[in-house]
């Protein structure tokens, strides 16, 4: 009987030991996989604001995750200090003038931190060192870089002509965008007003990227300004359309606001067309295509507004008299 009990004890002991060993092995495997016990070193950086950062945010180097944000502190002097925990095995790759900056993988999506190696001639970065944080160039900044003053007007005109040719190419992104926009507007309802606005945003983003090519041009600068204001309007417009899709007649106030925004957008596109009209006759035509699509949205929104009981009456259609120039009179006393 005593031998039987001893056997059972031994078996239970082995069972418990094996179970515990397995658990320890799993923990070890996971920790090795996730660099839990890997040797790490610390770096600091001070961005102007902690708005785009969070604890555990990945830090990438050449596309590889080399560490994470350990903690974020607001210093006594009001500055932000972020502590990075980076894997020691990547330490030799980072040099004294390494820079850290926020990048976005696509136009939308989460932002990640990317660290650059710095120049190879410089010594390897020391642990606990504060590295420089660089703000990624935004579209607005890029547009501001388009400097005024044209020394050679011929160069500008040639560039614009090339641009016009590219825009007129049926396979160009811009043309395809306009086609998509038109397709959506064929069957426009509350749900796909949002889609249309997103398409418009894409078109304008394309236009913005094109203006980067217009180097040292005053016209380019003016166009950029117009597009920037248009983008600002669109950024207001997007959340509005999402709400509009979700809500019913309660969103009447928002429709009114949406109409105002679409009007503003339409005027902004007019400015773009007007700015370009003196240089190439083709470009305003393209801007006009966008404007026509907007006019369709306006009509549909106004009819929606009219059908929802509380809305205002749709505005009367414009007559042909609007195409006649008003008189220019000499009224000097």
């Amino acid at each position: 009987m005593g031998e039987f009990v001893a056997n059972v004890r031994r078996q239970v002991g082995w069972f418990v030991l094996l179970g515990m060993g397995t658990i320890v092995l799993i923990i070890l495997a996971i920790s090795l996989q996730s660099d839990l016990f890997a040797k790490k070193f610390t770096l600091y950086f001070s961005p102007p604001s902690a708005a785009f950062f969070y604890d555990g945010q990945a830090v990438k180097f050449q596309g590889f995750t080399v560490g994470r944000i350990k903690e974020m502190d607001l210093q006594e002097d009001g500055t932000v200090r972020i502590t990075l925990n980076l894997l020691e095995r990547y330490h030799p790759m980072l040099h004294q003038d390494a820079i850290i900056h926020l990048v976005r993988d696509g136009l939308i999506g989460e932002q990640t931190l990317e660290i650059t190696s710095g120049s190879a001639e410089k010594p390897v970065i020391e642990a606990e060192q504060t590295i420089q944080y660089e703000t990624a160039a935004t579209i607005e900044q890029l547009l501001q870089d388009i400097k005024p003053a044209v020394e050679n007007a011929n160069t500008l005109l040639r560039e614009l002509t090339e641009l016009a040719a590219w825009l007129n190419d049926p396979t160009s992104d811009f043309r395809q965008m306009v086609a998509r926009m038109n397709a959506v507007s064929q069957d426009l309802n509350r749900e796909n007003v949002g889609k249309l606005v997103i398409n418009l945003a894409e078109i304008l983003e394309n236009l913005q990227s094109m203006t980067k090519g217009l180097k040292e041009s005053r016209v380019g600068e003016q166009l950029a300004k117009s597009l920037q204001s248009t983008s600002e309007i669109l950024s207001d417009l997007r959340p509005l359309t999402q709400q509009l899709a979700e809500e019913g007649p309660d969103s009447l106030k928002r429709i009114n606001s949406l109409i105002t925004h679409v009007d503003l957008l339409s005027k902004s596109l007019d400015t773009v067309a007007s700015d370009l009209s003196e240089l190439t006759p083709e470009l305003p035509g393209l801007a006009r295509e966008s404007r026509q699509a907007l006019a369709e949205i306006q009509t549909i929104l106004k009819s929606l507004q009219g059908s929802w009981l509380l809305g205002n009456q749709p505005a009367a259609a414009e007559g042909g008299e609007n195409s006649v120039a008003p008189p220019v009179l000499d009224m000097q006393p």
């Binding site: 038109n182 609007n322 195409s323 220019v328």
Partner: protein
């Protein structure tokens, strides 16, 4: 009471559902895209651009846009658009002081309007042409403003721009009663269109000029004030400067207020590079200012007169407006 509330809400809900279904049903059918004449689209774009350029007094740009609109409308063979394009071109040529070109363009409008029985364009072009001829001092002796339809000077169906031009013509031809009547009809026109508001401002300015010529200075001040109100809404700096200059010229206000108006007018004329306006305002300021501050103003006036003298030596100069 509760029962009444629930009944009302049920009714409202039903009505709401029906209207929503109606609106959705209306939109469910697929629109088939209608083919559009690209030349008409192009012409409209150019006209739109020309009108936008006009608002900012970019006359050269407006002229090139309207010239392109004319070509596009000719390619589209749209008579209405061709006629309007010629008219727009004539307005711009007149603003650019190219009176020969403007008269030629108005002639084309009259020809087309006569051939296609477009009475509105005919009247528009006829009055605009008479205004140019009167300004140039070669208005035909056979022209008599009384021959124009009386409804032009009364509340009729004529567009505001035609009535405004008729009023201005009557004013220049010393038919004050007719001019006043026509200006008043414009000020009473309802609407919030930018061009209409600008024309209302011009009508008030016309009334102010009429009142001043008849020594009704208080009314002149009030009308100029109304013109300024509209100018602030639509943004018409040149007309603003004219109205301020007129107020500065009126002796009914105290010297301080007149000086303020004149200085404001002068700043606008300087910004617009309108030398004629600057000269007139400076002359008024010299009259108004104390003797110790006058030499500086006189020196400025002398410089302007020298500049104007040089400009007058050039063959074509703008009398009404500045360049782009």
């Amino acid at each position: 009471m509760k029962h009444l509330h629930s009944c009302c809400s049920k009714w409202l809900l039903t009505l709401l559902c029906v209207s929503m279904l109606g609106s959705c049903g209306g939109k469910s059918s697929h629109k088939t895209p209608e083919p559009e004449n690209p030349y008409i689209l192009q012409a409209n774009t150019h006209i739109h651009n020309g009108l936008a350029a006009m608002q900012k007094e970019r006359w050269q740009s407006a002229e090139s846009s309207f010239a392109r609109a004319l070509v596009s409308s000719q390619l589209a063979d749209d008579i209405n658009l061709v006629s309007r394009s010629w008219y727009n071109l004539a307005v711009i040529r007149s603003a650019l002081n190219n009176n020969t070109g403007a008269e030629e363009a108005y002639g084309r409008v009259l020809e087309l309007a006569d051939r296609h029985r477009d009475s509105l364009m005919q009247m528009r072009a006829q009055i605009a042409l008479a205004l140019i001829q009167e300004r140039e001092g070669h208005l035909p002796e056979t022209f008599d403003i009384q021959q124009l339809p009386a409804s032009l000077f009364q509340a009729g169906n004529w567009p505001a721009d035609i009535r405004l031009q008729a009023a201005r013509l009557a004013q220049r031809l010393q038919h004050s009663a007719l001019a006043q009547q026509a200006y008043l009809t414009i000020t009473q026109t309802k609407g919030s269109d930018r061009n209409l508001l600008k024309m209302k401002a011009e009508a008030h300015m016309g009334l102010a000029l009429l009142a001043r010529s008849e020594s009704r200075f208080e009314q002149a001040w009030a009308e100029a004030e109304k013109a300024l109100g509209y100018c602030r809404v639509v943004g018409a700096p040149r007309l603003t400067a004219h109205a301020l200059l007129l107020q500065g010229q009126l002796g009914i206000a105290n010297a301080r207020e007149r000086k303020d108006r004149l200085e404001r007018a002068l700043s606008i004329y300087v910004a617009l590079e309108d030398t004629a306006g600057q000269k007139q305002t400076l002359a008024e300021l010299i009259k108004l200012n104390s003797p110790e501050s006058t030499p500086a103003l006189q020196l400025r006036l002398q410089q302007l007169e020298d500049k104007l003298g040089k400009e007058n030596e050039k063959p074509e100069s703008f009398s009404i407006m500045g360049e782009d």
